[in-house]
Symmetry: C2
Subunit: 331 residues, 2 copies
Amino acid sequence: MRKRATAKEVAEAAGVSKWTVIRAFTPGASITEASRQKVLQAAEALNYSPNLLARSLATNVTHQVAVFVDDFANPHKLPVLEMLTERLQAEGLLTVLININRHFDHVHALINADQRQFDAVILFGTAFREETLGDRRLGPDFPPMFVLARDSQIPGVPAIACNAELALSQVVDYLFDKGYRRPGFMTGARTLSTALGRRHHYANFWRRKGVESVIELNADRYSADAGAEAARAYLSATPPPSRVDVLMCENDILALGAMDTARSEFGCRVPQDLAVVGFDNIELGATPTYGLTTYEQPTYEMINTIVEMITGARAVEAVTLPGHLVPRLSA
Amino acid sequence: MRKRATAKEVAEAAGVSKWTVIRAFTPGASITEASRQKVLQAAEALNYSPNLLARSLATNVTHQVAVFVDDFANPHKLPVLEMLTERLQAEGLLTVLININRHFDHVHALINADQRQFDAVILFGTAFREETLGDRRLGPDFPPMFVLARDSQIPGVPAIACNAELALSQVVDYLFDKGYRRPGFMTGARTLSTALGRRHHYANFWRRKGVESVIELNADRYSADAGAEAARAYLSATPPPSRVDVLMCENDILALGAMDTARSEFGCRVPQDLAVVGFDNIELGATPTYGLTTYEQPTYEMINTIVEMITGARAVEAVTLPGHLVPRLSA
DNA sequence: TTGTAGGCGTTATCAA
DNA sequence: TTGATAACGCCTACAA
């Protein structure tokens, strides 16, 4: 197994010192065009390119960003990952996708991110409580962290997210104008602060409209299955006259599951018997089958904001951005 | 900004040499329990952990695997990515997710993977023609490459995929037994060899059943939208009596789009007027709304096979694995 | 078991 | 502009 050519080898082949080779590969270094060409030719012949590992060790910059994800059931993650990787790559940054699960938890992943000297860590839709760290400290040498599409409970770790208060006020205004008066809300994971936040704002704005009670349904995770199950439990326990007239779900995938069950198992017409609202605007919600009314987060703006913070083009601070309502037929 | 503690600093604090520190962090190194404890205490106090970058430079092993993806429209990618990252992480390998697009092509990504010394490169659902490399060589020092869930056109790069011939024979047997006789096939991207392969086998097995003609529809990419559009074009150009009675789509997301359009825009009952079959078995296909008959690839086995090859637990060679038919109501 | 040299391939800095 | 010395933090190999 032949090894990669090194700057030293190229130097010998080109008859210069290895530092001249380095300069030929350093944009804006002072080197004559003659030496530069000599080096580039030798490099080409030896198939040389700089070893980024060694460079990172010397510069303390890896150009790698870790992205933590702990929920792969929501199809919405995929287009966001696409945008995120593309935007990062445009800045010369690669994405290390880290699957947070019970075998590989946040602490484990954070230590790893530290040891590998990632330039930044993005908690995408994930968050952990500070206590989880135990007595382990995240030193000042630690990669900067950001929370994407969630609020942050960790002091010093800014969240870049959709403005939930604005979002839910828009949703409730819309629903109220449409004439709905008996609202329900389905959460995915009961403990998540984002869930609590959305539910809280939802209930709050209904209250301002004079509607005091919001029925709460709980799915235990974020998937169509879980949404279906939660809807089934509610609908089979509640006779039609006392049912909610509009069900907002914490995200689209729950909403699709709920809508499926309501229609096929309980014969509900949507939106006449039960209106449904989601959150995220996933592709399948737009199909004529579902026609899901939903709320779209400003995904690109959020990603762009984080990337600018990572590259230093922008001050690091928590930011919430406005999204927009996507009205369709389901509500 | 304080820097990370180094082995040398820990050594001074513990009153040993830095090599002893290294040994304390090397499983199976010869070191007395006493020194070991001394070192670990000092390390704890200084919040030390080995710098993986430096280790990689010295050992030529990064424990990072690049995964190339060029199609984020198919929701099926997500559960596969979940499994893949989990399985890799279980082996101590991190996943670098690389978005192949027109701003960042295969060659670019491969050079990068080489420079960063990734332990392996997985082409997930992506492939490129060897000519794309131009005169650039992939030296023997280059990270081993694997093609996942696709066939490989590159000599020396093994494909680990579902057995397409078996899959389509099972599908056609099933459809024939159900009484269908006028088959259609919808491809996503016309140029892809996988598409050609599936279509080829599909047509082939129908021929063996005595059905000579398979109508071909073409979507220009893999998304519900594209599937809907292709279906729309076909259905509006073809009066009911001359339409196919069963439409197999190259993957589920196309199938869902096609089914939506057939039902809502052309009033087709599925499967009575038009039966639909997909490929992948994505979560939403299982909902009562779609009830999509589909074919499930042996995802876990494929992933496991690749990971074993990467870790050296298994000989490197092309492998095709059997999947299984998932019959539902749509066909 | 422990300490010592030398090397991994780059970058930073200074001298020529 | 170019060459040289030192450093990045670790590992391998060898000697004590």
